[in-house]
Each structure stands twice: as structure tokens, then as C-alpha cells.
Symmetry: C2
């Protein structure tokens, strides 16, 4: 069994690995965990001793298979509990995080399995993030912001972050709708505006727009 703190580090490394391919740096992890770099070094060494991460001094850190499986298990519990809180206990999707942060550390295989069954094996949590199954497989792809895509990447529009009438009207007017395929043709360095292709038409959108559109790849 692992401590709350160890599990939180593994989770953080898992999330950061998407951004830092070659290994997660000590500083990045310190920022994510809201702690000091020296504390991170200590914990990484401990996780390394337990074979949960692969670590070489000054080289950053990566999850081992065991570490990844543990991180995914914690994420699975977090998202199942979020779903439970919203679906069964009348929480709003924006109130669940802190409680789920606590519940994700409860140790009981049967609890997780039965909770999953009780909830009908949900595929996404209330924020749209995928819930891995008991084997650690994500059956749906992760949600991204359009703003996170790079030049020449393509995705499908699956949701909006800003739900204001103004924003939705803008999308309507420009024929951006759920299910549409979007390809990033170019990104302007100066203001991060994007040139995208949707329905074969080119369209330039500001960072405010791309930062409020959810995409799956």
C-alpha cells in the first residue's frame, strides 16, 4: 500500500507526462504539487526505491509500469467518485474536486469495483474526462482544449468550456458545432490565434475561442 502523498505524486507525474515527454522535471512537479523542489527530490527518490518511477539524477522522472498502473487506479477512483457525487448526491460539477481528492485514496478493491457497477460503468466523469476501467484502459480518448493542439493536428469538437450565450452564438455563426472535425493549419506566434479548417473552410480564431473549445483526438 502507498501513502496519500505517494499516490498524489504518481498522479501528478501521470498528468505531467503528457506535456513533458522526455521526463518530468523536478521543478514542474514541484509547481504541480505546490511544494518545494527539494521535497520533490526526496519523494522521487523514495518512489524510485519502490520501483514506481524511473529516475536518474538531473534527468527528470518517468513512471514505471507499476507506477503508471497505480496512478491510473487513483485517477479511476477520483473520477468514479466525482461521477457519484454529481449523479447521486446532488453535487455540482464544480464542487466535487476537493472531496474526490480525499475519496480517491480509500483502499478497497471491492469498493471501487462495486461503485463502478452501481454507477453503471460510466465512461466519463462530470468534467468530460475519461474514466479508466478496472484493467486501466481508457475506452474513450481524453478531452483537450483546441488551444492545446499543435500545427497540423486534427480533432473532433466534443464540448465547450464557456457556456455563455455570446460564445454559443459565435460558434453558430461560424458553423462550429459538436461532432465537427477541426484541423489546425497554422498558429500565429504573436497572439496565439489559429488558422483552422472546418468543413473545408478556413477560419481564423483567437486564443479566447480556441481556449474554450473541447476536442477529442
Amino acid at each position: 500500500m502507498f501513502s496519500f502523498s505517494e499516490e498524489n505524486y504518481l498522479k501528478a507525474i501521470f498528468h505531467l507526462e503528457r506535456r513533458y515527454k522526455g521526463g518530468v522535471s523536478t521543478n514542474a512537479l514541484a509547481e504541480e504539487m505546490e511544494t518545494k523542489a527539494s521535497s520533490v527530490t526526496d519523494m522521487i527518490r523514495k518512489l524510485s526505491d519502490k520501483q514506481l518511477v524511473i529516475y536518474k539524477k538531473y534527468q527528470g522522472v518517468k513512471l514505471s509500469e507499476k507506477g503508471r498502473a497505480t496512478a491510473i487506479e487513483v485517477i479511476r477512483k477520483h473520477r468514479l467518485w466525482e461521477f457519484f457525487l454529481v449523479e447521486k448526491l446532488n453535487f455540482n460539477w464544480d464542487e466535487v474536486h476537493d472531496v474526490a481528492e480525499q475519496l480517491e485514496h480509500i483502499k478497497s478493491e471491492k469498493l471501487t469495483r462495486e461503485l463502478d457497477k452501481f454507477l453503471g460503468f460510466p465512461k466519463r466523469d462530470p468534467h468530460g474526462d475519461p474514466i479508466p476501467d478496472a484493467e486501466g484502459n481508457f475506452s474513450v480518448s481524453n478531452k483537450l482544449l483546441l488551444a492545446e493542439l499543435e500545427k497540423d493536428q486534427t480533432g473532433i469538437c466534443i464540448g465547450v468550456k464557456d457556456t455563455s450565450a455570446d460564445f454559443l452564438r459565435y460558434l453558430d455563426k461560424n458553423k462550429i458545432a459538436l461532432g465537427k472535425t477541426i484541423t489546425v493549419k497554422d498558429i500565429e506566434n504573436f497572439d496565439n490565434s489559429m488558422l483552422i479548417v472546418i468543413d473545408g473552410e478556413e477560419l481564423r480564431i483567437s486564443q479566447l475561442i480556441s481556449g474554450n473549445l473541447f476536442i477529442k483526438m
Copy 2:
């Protein structure tokens, strides 16, 4: 907010206060917590500093009002979760304890309130123990073993611990049934057998019998 450990001590003191009226001794608490007397002294001092218990050296410890309220809140959460596990997640009543020991420490007023509502404000957990309401009131009295009663005390039979056919047949034969009122007339020191009165009739029962009959007072 209090640590898991602090909450566990408060809970233990709450349970022991029933047996040790004049204050819970360090050794009794050490046994209950499966730890050493010296650790208990340390923790008691800490709880005393936080005004959760009333403590004088060598005099044992009692809960303050604040300490009692905290203990009851933890017990409330423990028993609500036990009910949830059995009623919603297909746990057996004898599998729930360890998981509930973890869940009882989750901090969220809304969670406890909504869970209570979701479960239909249950009055007893799967073991028959009363669940306090949000104000800390036990609306039903606690379940005891007949063996825990003292001379001249009276209670009502509300359940059995041993559910074997042999035991139930014995009860039948001696006209002991749910709902019957039992008064303890005498307890034999040598073998702890009891002389009880039921339906106006005297009956002598062994400790094996009295230790398997649940009573409410």
C-alpha cells in the same frame, strides 16, 4: 480539522466512556487503540491542548463537549458509510468495517448530509447500532449484549448475535423472543451465569446465552 489519528482516539474514548464512567484510563485506551500507553499519554496531551478532552495526570480522560461532538460526527459518518456499503454496494455486514474506518475521516459536511439524505436518513447501521443525526442526536437507543447488563437492569430483546439453529431453538424452548422484556435479577460471579425474569418467570442462563442476545434499554 483533526487528523485521522486524533479522530480515532476521540472515537475510542467515546466508546470506552460507557464502561469507564469516572474517566477512561490510559491503559484501557492503549488496549482499544492497539498501541502503547506512552503513545496514548502523548496523544491525550495533544487532545487536551486542543480542548477536545478533559485530562488530569494519572486521572484518566473524558471527552469535552467539543470532543464528544467530534466523536459523534465520526461515528455518524462511519455508520452511514456502512449502511451505504451494504444497501447500495452489495457488501456483507461483516465486510464493511475496514472500509468504513477509512471513509469516516473524509471531510465534507455536504457529503455527509447528502449521503444521509440519499440513504433515506437511516436510523441504524447494518449491525443494529444507532446512527446519530446531523445534530448528533441518537434517536434510537444503543444495542447491548444481555451479558453487559448489570444486576437489576432491564432491557428489551432486539436481536441475536449467534444465528445458529441450535441457539434459536433454545430461545424458542425458553420463550425468549424479540420484543420481550428481560430483567437481570442476579449474576453469579463464578461462571457469570444470570438469573433473569422474562414474562414473570425466572430463568437461569449461561454466559454463552447472555453473550449472544442483543438488548436495547
